[in-house]
């Protein structure tokens, strides 16, 4: 904030505790309409398995949204700490779908290009989606390899070597198949699947544009 111009600061301040960002979240984020219902008890923060690794636990994120801290929220890597364990959901006394909201915020930030670059879960999530949508089913071998090689060949070989024993054990127990590298499992109706996903994306994009 310190390197923003004074005009920007004033503008930012004027948005403090205004509902602007809350409305944006309500319009564009999955489960966003629930954000205002948080009562700040903190049970979510205390229930999260990776709780200590969140710079801002969920209830704080909710307050930041209500305080109009758009950039701080969307550039945060907190939401990417979610392991999807759903503990917060079942314990929230107000019934907020916290896991979904965290997913929704992460997705929204990713889509706007504001999510932190090189955030490992962000990168893996993209890799995963691309992997499963390519053939309609997960290709675990390629997923592992592309994860190792995401940062280039050199570090990829290193990563792969680190997990060599693991890979070998998986192959030995027939739980990983080297032949997956050449195609592997997939749905028969790939074109239908791709058309379906394209259509879904198209509908969502149109709504996104409309809501801007």
């Amino acid at each position: 904030m310190s390197d923003m111009g004074s005009v920007a600061i004033e503008k930012y301040r004027n948005n403090n505790y205004r509902n602007n960002f809350l409305h944006e979240v309500e319009a564009h984020v999955e489960g966003g309409e629930w954000v205002k219902m948080c009562m700040q008890c903190g049970v979510c923060a205390g229930s999260c398995p990776l709780g200590p690794h969140w710079a801002h636990p969920p209830q704080e994120i909710f307050m930041m949204i209500r305080a109009g801290k758009r950039e701080e929220v969307l550039t945060s890597d907190s939401m990417w700490m979610c392991t999807s364990c759903y503990n917060c959901i079942v314990r929230c006394p107000r019934g907020l779908p916290i896991t979904h909201i965290m997913h929704g915020l992460a997705h929204y930030a990713h889509r706007l290009g504001l999510a932190p670059e090189k955030q490992p879960t962000r990168e893996f999530a993209k890799l995963f989606w691309d992997n499963i949508t390519k053939n309609g089913r997960a290709n675990e071998l390629k997923m592992g390899l592309s994860l190792y090689f995401k940062d280039g060949f050199g570090s990829g070989v290193k990563e792969a070597m680190k997990n060599k024993a693991l890979g070998q054990a998986m192959m030995k127990t027939k739980r990983m198949n080297p032949m997956e590298f050449f195609g592997g499992h997939g749905v028969k109706d790939k074109s239908g699947l791709h058309a379906m996903l394209a259509k879904a994306r198209e509908i969502e994009d149109a709504k996104f544009e409309q809501g801007k």
């Binding site: 398995p49 392991t83 999807s84 959901i89 997913h103 949508t133 309609g136 699947l193």
Partner: protein, 301 residues
């Protein structure tokens, strides 16, 4: 008893040569013993699991599950859709419930499905069930116990349920904080339970095992430690990702933390297969990276 038929969604990890292929092997053996017929949904696709959220938007993710629901309705009409993978079950059930709860979502989803030549009938939703629910509700522990030929005597088993089989839906009638069905099952099969196993619903890191291995392995360490401290011979779980995360990284955890874990992690279906008299191979025990010797011994009797 008449054969029970279900529309079956195996999921990616249960495929041949995939990380939970031994789950499928043992499920087949278990179903054989219980006279269950699983009718695989033709041309099913990945559910996109929970980690799909990063890139996939809400509608594309729902569409993936909707495609499976539509295929299931079309090819296995009138049958409950049953999944063995926690993520598959959760994603499919959640999609089904959300679609039922919103006409708009249903309409948009059907628009997308139309591009694949499919359609969901809003009025006739299929039940989306976990295999464990089928066992408990359609058979019951008493009936499951009647099939036992080789009781799992002398094996102390920590019931690790994990997250997604337990939350947000969970098995009907069980608590989120202390579900007991796996203990009851172990008991039914003649094994020894650890009722106070304190990490039974703790997170294994899920998909973050790939992106945040250190943080996730720390979680797994806790799960293993509690099992070890309670004197467990092995851990049993219903979830393929839990199984993999708790079993295959033990070497790496040992190397990092100076521990010496060598804790077998098996599926409930493997326990059942062995107890029902199936061979070690039929029970998929050859798929264990850390061999479940005590279970193998009983299978070999």
């Amino acid at each position: 008893m008449a054969k029970k038929e279900y529309s079956f969604y195996p999921g990616c990890s249960s495929q041949k040569g995939a990380s939970a292929s031994n789950l499928q092997t043992s499920v087949d053996a278990m179903c054989d013993a219980l006279d269950i017929q699983l009718n695989e949904i033709p041309d099913w696709n990945c559910c996109s699991a929970s980690i799909g959220y990063g890139e996939g938007g809400e509608l594309p993710r729902i569409a993936l599950s909707a495609r499976n629901l539509a295929l299931s309705e079309q090819h296995n009409p009138g049958q409950d859709l049953v999944a063995t993978c926690a993520a598959c079950w959760l994603a499919t059930r959640e999609a089904s419930e959300r679609l039922r709860g919103s006409d708009q979502l249903m309409a948009e989803t059907n628009q997308a499905l139309a591009a694949a030549g499919l359609n969901l009938e809003p009025a006739k939703p299929q039940r989306v069930r976990h295999m464990v629910e089928v066992l408990i509700e359609d058979f019951g522990f008493e009936a499951l116990g009647e099939k036992v030929q080789k009781p799992l005597e002398g094996i102390k088993i920590a019931s690790y349920i994990g997250c997604q089989t337990n939350r947000p839906f969970g098995i009907d009638g069980e608590s989120f904080e202390n579900p007991v069905y796996l203990d009851k099952l172990v008991d039914t099969l003649g094994g020894d339970t650890i009722p106070d196993y304190e990490t039974k619903v703790q997170c294994c890191g899920g998909a973050l095992m790939f992106s945040e291995p250190e943080k996730s392995q720390e979680l797994v360490k806790g799960i293993l430690e509690a099992a070890h401290d309670n004197g467990a011979d092995m851990i049993v779980t219903p979830c393929p990702l839990c199984q993999m995360n708790t079993e295959v990284y033990q070497d790496q955890i040992n190397a990092k933390h100076g521990t010496s874990f060598n804790m077998p992690v098996v599926y409930y279906s493997q326990l059942m297969s062995v107890a029902y008299g199936k061979s070690a191979g039929e029970a998929g025990l050859d798929g264990q990276i850390i061999k479940a010797r005590k279970l193998e011994n009983i299978a070999g009797k």
